[in-house]
């Protein structure tokens, strides 16, 4: 079986349609939307089109879970035991089990919210972060950055379920959230162990994590104000082992990504 599988070779049936993040960035409507006052972007009942926005986000979580499963599976397979110790592979296998369960939960939640598999497009940039050639980079990019983002997303959806009185959404998100906390801790633990004698490698991995954190905060997607659809879940992140300094850094990266996204929209509009 091939090692280092590129995103375009991921197996999907005809229901799935791929999209490119560039199509979204270069959409000529972006600049016009930013001129509108359409209210806070935070997901809440009574906010503009909250049902369809929640359905769209839930489908994004579903495809993200598939890619997280594929990423952890690849990390268990792509490296020999000198690069990735057997105990790390066991942890990745255990994570695959969690992600497979999350995929099933997400499908059921999608049905509950009136969404069909493949109703929305799939972007593969989550899996792309799991294609790094060094397992430590994958642990930072996927387990610490993306599973950290999953904490923020699940916490936001759990709160949405709570305030909208949807017991199914709140319950399911809470269970998945608990798993994500363990995935982040797993990533932090293996980062320390694999780089104990190699500070340069650790710094490279943390740099990669910063890049991924910033990418996934693009255009203000994640942050700490009412303008951000996804809120930084400080308390849950602390439980996952992030320090206050690390969380502050993610908040700063998110703000920077928001400003850069805005600049990119304006540049695209004036081009």
């Amino acid at each position: 079986m091939r090692k280092q599988l590129p995103p375009e070779m991921l197996a999907r049936d005809s229901r799935f349609v791929r999209t490119s993040i560039m199509d979204q960035i270069l959409d000529p409507r972006n600049r016009k939307i930013s001129e509108r006052t359409i209210g806070p972007a935070k997901l809440a009942p009574g906010r503009p089109a909250s049902a369809d926005r929640a359905r769209n986000l839930m489908h994004g979580i579903f495809t993200g879970e598939i890619q997280a499963l594929e990423g952890a599976g690849r990390t268990a397979f792509d490296f020999d035991e000198t690069e990735a110790p057997f105990a790390l592979k066991l942890d990745m296998a255990r994570q695959c089990w969690d992600e497979a369960r999350h995929v099933e939960i997400s499908i059921k939640l999608g049905e509950w919210m009136g969404t069909e598999i493949g109703e929305f497009t799939e972007a593969t940039f989550l899996y792309e972060a799991a294609c790094a050639p060094d397992p430590v980079l994958r642990l930072c990019g996927v387990n610490r950055a993306l599973e950290g983002l999953a904490i923020d997303v699940f916490n936001t959806m759990k709160e949405f379920g709570d305030v909208s009185g949807d017991p199914v959404l709140e319950f399911c998100e809470d269970w998945m959230l608990a798993d994500e906390v363990t995935h982040v801790k797993m990533g932090s633990d293996w980062l320390r162990r694999l780089t104990a004698d190699d500070p340069e490698r650790r710094e490279r991995a943390l740099d990669f994590q910063r890049t991924v954190d910033k990418l996934f905060s693009l255009g203000g997607f994640r942050g700490e104000t009412e303008e951000n659809p996804i809120h930084l879940a400080r308390k849950m992140r602390e439980m996952a082992g992030f320090s206050t300094t690390e969380i502050d850094e993610i908040a700063e990266l998110s703000e920077l990504a928001r400003a850069e996204g805005q600049a990119a929209v304006e540049a695209a509009g004036s081009a």
Partner: protein, 206 residues
Amino acid sequence: MTVVSIVPELFTLIEFDAERIKEIASEVAKSLAFPSDVDVHIEVDEVLPAPLNSSQADYLGGRAELWFTGGAFEDTHKGRHIDEVLARCGLGEALLRVKDRISGGFEDAPNDSEISERQRALWDAYADGRLTRLEGFVVREPRRRYVYRLECGFNDVADAAYDQLWASDATTWADLLEIEARLMEADPTERDAKPSARRISLRQTQ
């Protein structure tokens, strides 16, 4: 034959064809037996993409005034392009509600900019239920049920009211207000009385 007009006549940000939307609207009006002496004016706000989906349907000055976000008709697989099945359904819901306003028991209903999200969810369930019983409309019932539950509550009373509306061919605005009162009793959670995703709020510029 129903006279249909549209704004804009030329879309510049998205790949919608105004003439094609007018054709679909005419076909839909015919299949709903929409009064042929009532003109239909459609406005599509091309700035607002999916999933910012919203619409309004009013009967003003003897004319049907329909407003949609571009997202309401947008293909979820191919951004900026129209999904004609979705457009047909959206136009069907809107024209059915205008027909209700003209002579279907909703003559005294306030304009869409003044009704609450909950009232709108109830009315939409009633409209979609009727559309499913007509030929040529693909209504995504599970989506409608979720939007409804979000506004009307996740409880048995709300579900029973939904089934009642879905199966009905003769509900009035007064019936709708009676159902709303029943829902309030079952789930007294305070909700915004004002609509959130309507024409005025979404078209404001900074």
